[in-house]
C-alpha cells in the first residue's frame, strides 16, 4: 500500500459522507435524506463522490442479479426436511406473514405502493361520493356499502362505547348476526338483526342483552 493510499484509507469519513451510500439506496430517514440532499446541492466534492456511489450501487445490483437463482433441489430438500419434522401446528405467525409481505418490498417500491394506494383511495372516495350524490337525487339516502337492504328483520339503534375497538364491534355484530345499515347519526348506528322480524318480546330481550355488552353504551329499538 502506498503512503498516499494508506492516508486515504486511514481517514475517517465525515458524517454526511458516511450516509451517502444509504442515501443512494433510499434507506435514510426523511431528516437525514434532507440533510444529505442539501449538502449535495452545495458541495461539489460530495456530489462527485455520490456519483461514484451511484455507479457502485447499480453495479452491485447487476452483480447480484447475475448470480441467478437456486435449483429446485434446495426447495425439495427443505420440504423433505419439514415433512420429516415432528408434527406441529401448520399455522404461521400472523405478524410474520404481514411483515414478510412488506419486507419483500424495497423502500422505493413501498413508497410507490403507498402513493398508489393513496391515489386509489382518493379515486374510490370520488366514485363513492358521486354515487351517493346521484342516489340522493333519486330514491333517497342509501349507503354505498348497503345499497339494497332487506326490509325484513329487526332494527335497532346502537351507540358504541367511545373506547370500543373496530374488531370488538365486528365481533359483536357477528355474534348477533347483525349488520350496520346506516349511520352514525347523532352517534347512533342503525343496525339490522338477522333477516326475520322478531316478536316484540324477543326484540326487547335482544336489546337488553345488547345493552349489557361492554362496548355498547345505548341500544334502543328502531322502526
Amino acid at each position: 500500500m502506498t503512503p498516499a493510499s494508506k492516508q486515504t484509507v486511514d481517514r475517517e469519513p465525515t458524517e454526511l459522507e458516511a450516509l451517502l451510500p444509504f442515501h443512494a439506496a433510499g434507506t435514510l430517514n426523511l431528516r437525514d435524506a434532507r440533510r444529505v440532499d442539501e449538502a449535495l446541492a452545495s458541495d461539489p466534492e460530495l456530489a462527485r463522490q455520490y456519483a461514484v456511489i451511484q455507479d457502485e450501487y447499480a453495479e452491485t445490483i447487476l452483480l447480484n442479479e447475475s448470480l441467478g437463482a437456486p435449483s429446485a433441489r434446495a426447495m425439495q430438500k427443505l420440504f423433505a426436511a419439514i415433512d420429516a419434522e415432528p408434527a406441529r401446528k401448520a399455522s404461521f405467525n400472523p405478524v410474520m406473514k404481514a411483515a414478510g409481505f412488506f419486507s419483500s418490498l424495497s423502500p422505493r417500491t413501498l413508497a410507490f405502493a403507498g402513493v398508489t394506494a393513496a391515489v386509489l383511495v382518493l379515486l374510490q372516495a370520488g366514485v363513492i361520493g358521486t354515487v351517493l350524490v346521484k342516489d340522493r337525487k333519486g330514491e333517497g339516502f342509501q349507503t354505498a356499502a348497503f345499497p339494497v337492504q332487506s326490509k325484513a328483520g329487526t332494527f335497532g339503534l346502537l351507540r358504541f362505547a367511545p373506547d370500543a375497538k373496530a374488531d370488538e364491534i365486528a365481533q359483536l355484530l357477528n355474534n348477533y348476526n347483525a349488520s350496520i345499515v346506516s349511520g352514525p347519526k347523532a352517534g347512533m348506528f342503525r343496525v339490522q338483526f338477522g333477516d326475520k322480524a322478531l316478536s316484540k318480546q324477543e326484540a326487547e330481550q335482544l336489546l337488553t342483552r345488547l345493552q349489557a355488552e361492554k362496548i355498547v353504551s345505548l341500544a334502543v329499538a328502531a322502526e
Binding site: 445490483i61 435449483s71 434446495a74 404461521f92 410474520m96 414478510g100
Partner: protein
Amino acid sequence: MQVLYGRHHVRVFRFSLRLVKNESIAEDLISEVFLDVWRQAGKFEGRSTVSTWLLAITRFKALSALRKRKDAELDDEAAAAIEDTSDNPEVAVTKKDTSHALRNCLTALSPEHREIVDLVYYHEKSVEEVAEIVGIPENTVKTRLFYARKKLAELLKAAGVERGWP
C-alpha cells in the same frame, strides 16, 4: 412456508453465495435457513423485518459453513479468488469495460466488506438493519462501508480504472 420461501429464497441464496462462493453450499444453506425459520416461526416477534431476520440467520450459517472448511482449503480459495479478480479487471479495462471491472472488484472484496456492500446496496438495508444482521454498532456499519468503498477504489485503481474518488 411456500409463500415465504417463494418471496425470499433467491435473495437468501444470493447473499449466501456471495459469502461462501460455492453454489452447492449456498443451496444447502437455503434449506438450513428456512428450516430454522420453520422451527422458530413462533419466536419471531416482528421487531425486525422478516428479510432482516432471514439475512441474519443466513449470515450466521454461511460463516459457520466457512469455518467448517479446512484452513488450507480456504487459503487456496482465497488466493485463487484474489488472483482471478486482479486479472479480471485488467482484462476488463483492456476492453474498456469499466462496469465489468467494477463488478469484478466487488467480487474481490473481503467477505467482511462484501457483505456490507451487498446488504446496503442490493438488499437495501438501513444502518440499523445492517447493524442488527452483522451484530456491530451502527457507527461501525457506516465506517466499515466507507472502508469497503475505499478498498474497492484501490482495487479499481490497481486495475487502471480511475473514477475521481478518493
